[in-house]
Symmetry: D2
Subunit: 430 residues, 4 copies
């Protein structure tokens, strides 16, 4: 039995207020698109079928190394977090799964599963943590985990990842995401080659424990928390990992983990071409791994990533089913609002990419008509698809305007009463 | 008497084909905007009044240090260039002025003025060149111009700039833009302080020759052609220049001249606040000074720049009339098409910025409602304003679809017959 | 009475072991330099007179937003921190002053002063904190401090800074450093101009409280903790601040606070030229504000910064006495060792810069002999000045090899016994 | 018979002047190193055996897209270029081979070989050019070469590369370097996947024509001349190429072809580990592909690259013989001087890397003693090895001070008399 926290009739009432304007917008867009030979309802159906996973850690207020400023009603644990995730999905119908982070979300799997079931939520990829020390941990990760010079520390990290697989099996997850902070802060501190050999050996041990219908995602990142070198620093190294481990191993692309100016959509294309794109951690950034809301800074870049995904579908790439996950840090907003908004922005980019006239594009590319090829993408991108997104939500029983509906619901105030307020303090993720 | 190169009835015929769809789009957008309490015709009128200058050097095919691949019908000189510029303005009604570059565009001012008058074109800021050596030049700029260690070379550079002012006076220009390539390729090659002192002294001499109703624009750039240090490397130095010279001196912002990740819109805001924003060289870029078409790479960034300009108007900033100029290198497109498209993209960003609900934005800012403040900008940005741009063009007698109309006109083929084809060759600007 | 924690005779014994090799190195270098017409003892004397302040927060283990991994014997408070600072100065004779951070280092000024006196330490610039919330604080800095939209929050930040001045007056400090994290994470979140106006008004209030013989240092930073815009984002804005406030206001340059590829030494030169260089926060970085040990990543860059300082002295710049401070985060090393090493590296860069043949350099610059100008710097830079640094230390009673001597002293083990061990945890600075 | 252009007795006389100081420096360094258990003569012997190839295009003055400012005595063709290269090798004994660029260096192979033999020069890797159009070329590379959408253009590019192999076979070269400028300036202009498929197919055709004892080097570059996407954009793509083609295919690393902040030495390590490091194009840079003199900007980075090479030797990596080549653009110096200096700097980095105490380093790495590991590298790096470099040159009959000796020789003045002076002009490489 679904136990949603926002009353269904509130959603209805809020939708009712906006129905007329929405219908006018949807009709006008439908007419416009029909002049471009596009069937709006077909696009809406595709958008409605597109989902993105929400990270359990994303519903708590994030922070930096300098400070964390908690908001009201911070979730006290994974059960509260699932409640918050359910609100996001209720209002967007875009986020039916949650990605867990162990050890923070470690609870009795049966209770977890029951709670999620009641909220109509499923579980996406499991995430291990070997970038900070848990309270009861024998060996410290100060100097690395899977690539540590000490065998016992590496073994501990391997076992932790295997434990994450075990938990995930009980919950119905089908993937493990491994991101490690291993690296160095000084030239000379670590031997690049030996570190990577140790990492590969540890990952091979984890891979062996992976069920046949699971996928293993490795995630690269240029820097942070290591500031001179990082063991899995870019997609080149990430590809070597996936290729070395085997056919269940894939590369995860976090949009914020690249060098300045990097053409990320081209990396996506290369990984698709060589059969190793596992999926995404969506977010946006201006400087480093800023973990800002998807689409907040460079929306055209997000569109160009989706353009590659739709192009791959269009070209009929085999066995192509990348995982879509959000990974953000919400430092100055209500995390629920940011995740609602981000799920919408991700769908927006997908909807825009679906509008690209691919046959025209192909001709312009063949003829080296750079200007019209560019314009073909821009024409799709500049189409205001908000009415399509709203329609997909509305038809799924979610909100035409999910942020306004969320605010009208008083959910934040309500949980603020239930969950004790936190003190701020020096930085960090939760 | 206006002697336009594209037949007016061709434009009419092409507009006729697109009129019905355009009217439907404009009406639908008008209705949508009226629900947002925006009067579409008021926006269209503002857009129609917005102009951007075209650079004379932009109508020739550009190149890199590796190669230049000329197209058909390359302009042979400034008279051909003006013809091309007239086509851009005829089809967009957005570019009534041309910015000249001396010595390349040096011709008898009376003839130039007559030719421009016949084409309904005026002259924007004059541009001097001391970053390459002219054939007849006594002192080389290999090691600098206004900041050169040799006094005679500096004097030559000063005189060249004064000559540009003289030519501009004859043509009706009201501004001089000074961009120099001076800098160094090696640590130690030049003394930063002495170089800048020499630069400032030279600029003071030029400033003295400036008529009272002119403005002097200095332009900063992080690097290229100098690859270790550049004398006018950023807006900080540029501000010092404008502040040292006097009230007719202003900073010019070229969007591609900044360090990676720089928040350019904030620089724009700072220069406005301290009364020193002179204007823009519009273009887009991904890596360095790529000089790509405006809006081609990061359209949201272009919007955010215009958001500052409209915000300044909204706040009633005094004596605020920045110059708008395009500065691009068209290496793989027909330059006329790229300039048409870029003028449209610049107007698009302006139209979107006009749609921002500034009263709502102000409230969200005051309340630190980051999510809704962001959404307020995004809502304006994602509005498809193409119908507004088309309406502004149509009402001015220009083309609903200027690229398609240009292609239908056969102009490029026509001038290709008149102008001998060029050989390619190793790189450079024209 | 000085109460140093490392026995003087241990230092002597350690020096004794290395004396012969050191003397041979010093003599050989002296001979070599005399062939270059350089008097080694004069250089040594200048190096010995060069000091750099140690930050109180630097003797604790630092962290990132992901984790902090404490070491043994972490200082429990400012008295422990001063003890650690005294060890650094005892072994290097390079760091006789400490820079405090309020509120963390807030204690009875009389007791603080007495403790410092006993350790032969003085106090450098005071540092305020408005980038995180203290436990007892009325208004949160979540959305800014000096630039906050709320007047009461701004006032609280102003008062905190004035309190820092008051504490500093009691301790003999002569400067206040203001770094704020204010900025925004979303386009639209804050109005750039109004934020900066509020910041300037707050700083003016602080400036008014500044004693006549004090200096006010404002510090710019490109990003972090704000990830879209930062109020004091670069030296251009920093200059505007110092210039607006008055003659006691100066710009502080933290080497890690710039955009990628920025020519920092040129910024130093510009600030010197316009009379606004206040001083430095030394550290090194590869990606962002990595806060790594000075000279660890790009030692030539550090040299080039000192080359500007020595050049300014050489040119006889008036009233030129920049403050030298270290600001680093020691995540994987013993902080005392990192600070010892960093102080040495900073002195190394200074010593190398002193060896530049400035008369030759000037000639090469005048003649545009780029290759020999570059070589003149490189020749000074590649000179192994370790013997000069060791000699300066030895003559001051400090250690020829301070790291080895520190390790031999067993200090860390000793304080580990006195100070309870800490648990790690999610990130942050201490 | 060797026909060197600088009289041997001039070299002797110049060496004689510097012999005494050099011997003192060498003796002092030898003593110092013996205290570190290093045999200076063994290091000198290794340095003397280290060679780096000079690019034929490097002896002409380079330029940017804005301008090229030729110097005196510019080489008129490949024979003049070989003469200049011989001078570099005569004075450094470090550059016995030249890397040719076709079509510019295309001449009768027998004559070329004879001329090179007479100058004691050999031929290193051949370089093809498909980034600009030759005068007589049928298909233009404006829109790409090996990845062009048009089959005939691709075929032309393949045939040109095969021709380069043929020429190289006649000259004794053993490698072909393929760098292409293919890419796009606009999102949408080219299909990333199809472009790369076409590239791989073309490269496979070239690979088939490769003799068994040759190597094929592919070279990646982030951007320029393409400013939105580049087909071979980074080492990840480069690895995929080499891996796809076969065991004679390797990756070439140009130090200036990476994103800002990239850890290049780690890429070197990865390529070594996976058996695909082909070699280097040495140069230095601050912003983009600045092509400045090796070691001029970040000498520590150059050292860290060599540290990986020496480490690989130390670990006994099999079949490890990377190619060492210089690729620079000399815009403001005498190219011969820059190449002399750069060859010295490259050897300097190698010499410093040889001084690393690898056994100590390994222990520090194993113990996670980051500070001492870093210091172990820095200790080697800061050793002034100039005397070792000079000794290696002197023993080979080259110059103790090659720049001074070159200047004393009057070579530039002499060839300026023989070779007509050039006019400057807009940019480009020669």
């Amino acid at each position: 039995m679904t136990e949603l926290r926002i009353a269904a009739d509130l959603v209805d009432r809020e939708n009712e207020k906006r129905a007329k304007a929405h219908e006018a917008d949807y009709a006008a867009l439908g007419e416009h698109l029909s002049r471009r030979n596009v069937d709006i309802d077909a696009i809406t159906a595709k958008v409605a079928a597109f989902h993105v996973a929400v990270p359990s850690w994303g519903v708590g207020t994030g922070g930096t190394r300098f400070a964390r400023f908690p908001g009201l009603g911070e979730p006290r644990g994974i059960f509260d977090k699932l409640d918050d995730c359910a609100v996001i999905n209720q209002l967007t119908a875009a986020t039916p799964t949650v990605s867990l982070h162990i050890p923070w979300d470690k609870e009795d799997p049966a209770r977890l599963k029951a709670h999620a079931d009641a909220l109509d939520l499923g579980f996406d990829a499991m995430n291990s943590n070997t970038f900070s020390d848990a309270a009861d941990q024998q060996h410290s990760y100060k100097y690395g985990s899977l690539s540590h010079t000490d065998a016992a520390t590496r073994q501990q990290a391997v076992e932790h990842n295997i434990e994450c697989i075990e938990i995930g099996k009980a919950l119905g997850s089908k993937a493990l995401t491994v991101w490690i902070g291993d690296g160095s802060n000084f030239p000379g501190q670590s031997n690049f080659t030996k570190s990577f050999e140790r990492y590969l050996a540890g990952m091979a041990d984890i891979y062996k424990a992976l069920p046949d219908d699971w996928r293993l995602f490795s995630e690269h990142k240029m820097y942070e928390p290591a500031f001179y070198s990082t063991v899995v620093q870019d997609w080149g190294t990430n590809y070597l990992i996936a290729n070395t481990l085997g056919e269940k191993a894939f590369c995860l692309v976090d949009l914020g983990h690249h060098a300045p100016n990097t053409n990320i959509e081209m990396i996506v294309a290369r990984l698709i071409q060589f059969g190793k794109l596992g999926g995404f951690h969506f977010n946006d950034s201006k400087y480093g791994d800023d973990d800002l809301d998807a689409g907040a800074i460079e929306p055209y870049r997000l569109f160009l990533v989706f353009n590659e995904l739709v192009d791959a579908e269009h070209r009929g790439v085999k066995q192509f089913h990348p995982a879509h996950m959000i990974d953000q840090s919400h430092n100055v907003t209500d995390p629920i609002e940011s995740l609602i908004s981000s799920a919408n922005e991700i769908r927006r980019a997908y909807a825009q990419a679906l509008l690209v006239d691919r046959s025209a594009l192909e001709n312009f590319q063949q003829e080296n008509d750079a200007l019209m090829a560019s314009d073909t993408l821009k024409r799709a991108y500049r189409t205001d698809v908000e009415a399509i997104l709203a329609q997909a939500r509305k038809k799924a029983g979610a909100a035409i305007d999910p942020i306004a509906t969320y605010r009208a619901s008083g959910y934040r105030k309500q949980v603020a009463g239930e969950r004790p307020s936190q003190r701020g303090g020096s930085g960090g993720i939760v």
